[in-house]
C-alpha cells in the first residue's frame, strides 16, 4: 500500500527550482521521466518488500511457509518498531 501512495504523483511536472531549463524542451524530460519512473518504482518496491519482511511476514501472512524463523529472529525489533506481534 505504501508503494502505490509513495510514488503516486507521476513525474510529469519538472521542478521549477531544480530544473529551470527543462521548461524549454519537453522531450528530454519525458525521456528522463520514464527512466526516472522505473527508478522510483523499483526503489519503492524494494522498500515495501523489505518493510513487509521485517514487519509483517510470518505473523498475519507468510511467504516462506509455516515456520517462524524471520518472525522470531527480528522479534524484538518488530515489537519496538511498532508492528503488531503475537
Amino acid at each position: 500500500m505504501s508503494a502505490s501512495t509513495v510514488h503516486s504523483p507521476a513525474p510529469t511536472a519538472p521542478s521549477t527550482r531544480t530544473a529551470p531549463t527543462s521548461r524549454t524542451g519537453a522531450t528530454p524530460v519525458v525521456l528522463g521521466g520514464s527512466r526516472a519512473l522505473l527508478w522510483l518504482f523499483g526503489t519503492a518496491l524494494f522498500g515495501v518488500v523489505l518493510y513487509y519482511f521485517i514487519g509483517i511476514d510470518q505473523g498475519a501472512t507468510s511467504v516462506f511457509g509455516d515456520n517462524m524463523y524471520i518472525h522470531e529472529f527480528v522479534h524484538d525489533a518488530r515489537h519496538l518498531i511498532g508492528f503488531p506481534c503475537h
Binding site: 505504501s2 510514488h7 503516486s8 527512466r35 522498500g47 529472529f73 527480528v74 503488531p84
Partner: protein, 287 residues
C-alpha cells in the same frame, strides 16, 4: 541522477538504523526483557491453574532463537534492515517532493521529508495502535491487528501527501504561513475522524468474545477459580518505558536520516560551475 539520491537515501537509512539499534540496545532492551519475563511467568501461572482444574496443559516447544540472540543480533539486523527499507522509501519521497513543495531549499526539504516519514510511518499510526512489548497481543487477532495497523499507515501516507498538495493549492490565496496551518488542520481533522472510526484493539470481535469489552489487549491480573489474583496484570511502568523508548528509537532513526541526507542533497542539487565560470543550476532531476 535518481540513482544517486536512492543510494544516499539507503546509506543514511542504514546509518539511522544503526544508531537506533545502539539506542534501543541500551534503553529499550531492559523493558523488553522484563516484558518477556512477565510473559513466561504468566504462562507458568496459567499452566498451574489449568493443571489444578484438570485441563490439558500444552508445553511450548523450545525457542527458535534465544532471548540473547533476539535482543542483540536480531534487534540489530532488524533495525538496520528497517532503516534500509525506510531510507529507500525516503529517497523516493524526496525526489517526488523536489519542486512540488514550494520554495523549500534542499536541506530544509530533507528535514521536512524525514518529519513526514516519522509521522506517516510511525507516530500517527502509533496514536491509534501504539507499539506493544512482548506479552501484549493475542494470537487470535494478529491478522486483524496487522490489517488495522497497515491501514493506519496507508491512511497516514495518503493524508499527509494530500495535505502537502492542499497546502500548495492554498498558498497563492492565503500565503505560506496560513496555507500551512490550514492544510495541517485539515490533516488533523481527517486523521482524527479515521482514528475515531477504526475499532480499538480490545473491541475486536474475537477479544470481546473471549475477554469481554476491554480497551486494549494489555493483560489484566490472572485470577483463580475463587477470584483471587494469582499473577499481577502487566506492569504499567514497563509498558510506559517500552513505548517511550519505541518513540525515541524512531525519532533517532528519522532524525539521523533527515540530518545526514540534508548536506548530501544540498550537494547533489547545488549549482555546479559551468566551464565558462558562471554558475548554472543542474538541469533536471529527471535527466
Amino acid at each position: 541522477m535518481e540513482g544517486r539520491f536512492v543510494a544516499r537515501g539507503m546509506l543514511v537509512g542504514v546509518l539511522g538504523g544503526l544508531l537506533a539499534f545502539v539506542f534501543a540496545r541500551i534503553f529499550a532492551e531492559p523493558p523488553i526483557r522484563r516484558a518477556a519475563d512477565y510473559e513466561s511467568g504468566r504462562e507458568a501461572a496459567q499452566n498451574a491453574l489449568d493443571r489444578a482444574a484438570g485441563l490439558p496443559v500444552e508445553t511450548p516447544g523450545p525457542d527458535l532463537f534465544s532471548r540473547s540472540v533476539q535482543g542483540n543480533l536480531g534487534l540489530g539486523i532488524g533495525m538496520v534492515l528497517f532503516g534500509l527499507a525506510v531510507g529507500a522509501l525516503y529517497s523516493v519521497a524526496y525526489i517526488l517532493a523536489c519542486g512540488r513543495t514550494g520554495g523549500v531549499r534542499p536541506r530544509q526539504l530533507a528535514l521536512l521529508v524525514a518529519l513526514g516519514g516519522f509521522l506517516a510511518l510511525y507516530l500517527i499510526p502509533f496514536l491509534k495502535y501504539p507499539a506493544d512489548p512482548p506479552a501484549i497481543g493475542h494470537e487470535a487477532t494478529i491478522r486483524d491487528r496487522s490489517g488495522l495497523y497497515l491501514l493506519m499507515v496507508g491512511t497516514s501516507i495518503v493524508v499527509l501527501v494530500a495535505g502537502v498538495w492542499l497546502g500548495q493549492r492554498l498558498r497563492p490565496r492565503f500565503g505560506t504561513w496560513n496555507a500551512t496551518l490550514l492544510a495541517a488542520l485539515a490533516c488533523v481533522i481527517v486523521l482524527g475522524a479515521v482514528m475515531w472510526a477504526l475499532p480499538s484493539v480490545g473491541h475486536l470481535p474475537a477479544n470481546v468474545h473471549q475477554y469481554g469489552r476491554q480497551a486494549t489487549e494489555t493483560p489484566p491480573p490472572l485470577r483463580n477459580a475463587q477470584g483471587q489474583i494469582v499473577y499481577p496484570g502487566f506492569p504499567a511502568d514497563v509498558l510506559f518505558e517500552f513505548r517511550l523508548y519505541s518513540v525515541a528509537a524512531q525519532a533517532v532513526l528519522w532524525a539521523t536520516i533527515g540530518i545526514a541526507f540534508a548536506p548530501l542533497a544540498d550537494r547533489l542539487l547545488a549549482p555546479s560551475p559551468s566551464p565558462d565560470g558562471r554558475n548554472v543550476k543542474k538541469r533536471s532531476l529527471w535527466v
